[in-house]
């Protein structure tokens, strides 16, 4: 069924061999990822345009829902097949990987907090009303949001580490 679908999608008449299948999977996976990033970008552009016109179009929330559902499905499928697990053979390896995750999660949390602060308090209010809405309370709120996001990221990534010691 899956092969038939892929053959129809790429326009092949007969079945592909193992090398061709492998390459087709790689190409489709990469193009799927690029398409996801492209639709995310389109969603941000849509949000900016909507903010300028002070209205919410159908496309922006639709793209958001599609992207989130797509990401959720892929994540759950990868999880189900344990394709995103990382094996740790020793306590040292586990600690080292945990340290790396902490670093990347902190970076992710800071980046998310900054991005949200800039867009929600500077960019969107400016595009909508022409005024910038920023206060220490807002900075604190997005800071806490960033910490929460980073913590969730760390907790989720840590759950993929498999202890084998």
């Amino acid at each position: 069924m899956r092969n038939k679908l892929i053959n129809r999608f790429i326009g092949a008449i007969d079945d592909r061999d193992e090398y061709q299948q492998q390459e087709i999977y790689k190409e489709l996976a990469l193009s799927g990822m690029l398409l996801w990033y492209l639709t995310m970008l389109l969603m941000v552009v849509g949000l900016i345009v909507d903010t300028i016109h002070n209205k919410l179009s159908f496309l922006t929330p639709a793209l958001f829902i599609i992207n989130m559902v797509y990401a959720g499905i892929i994540m759950s499928r990868l999880r189900k097949k344990q394709l995103d697990d990382t094996d740790c053979a020793s306590i040292e390896e586990y600690e080292e990987k945990k340290k790396r995750l902490k670093k990347s999660s902190t970076f992710g949390g800071v980046l998310w907090g900054l991005f949200m602060l800039i867009f929600m308090q500077y960019v969107f209010p400016y595009l909508s009303t022409g005024e910038i809405d920023v206060s220490w309370l807002k900075v604190l709120i997005w800071g806490i949001g960033g910490i929460f996001f980073g913590s969730m990221m760390y907790w989720f990534s840590k759950s993929k580490l498999q202890k084998h010691f």
Partner: protein, 59 residues
């Protein structure tokens, strides 16, 4: 080739594309074990002779 087989003939016999046989010959693709066995059977040899020995080995 000792068996006077062309790439397309061998490809048809083992059920892959000619391009795949070409890539295997040029060490640009690592075939699966089942394809290795198919190739060895078709070429009437064993896996060692076909894939392991570098000198004096005709694939």
């Amino acid at each position: 080739m000792q068996m006077k087989l062309t790439q397309i003939e061998l490809a048809k016999k083992v059920g892959v594309a000619r391009q795949t046989i070409n890539l295997i010959e040029n060490n640009k693709y690592n075939p699966s074990l089942s394809l290795c066995i198919c190739l060895a059977k078709e070429l009437k040899t064993d896996l060692n002779t076909l894939f392991w020995e570098e000198i004096g080995n005709e694939k």
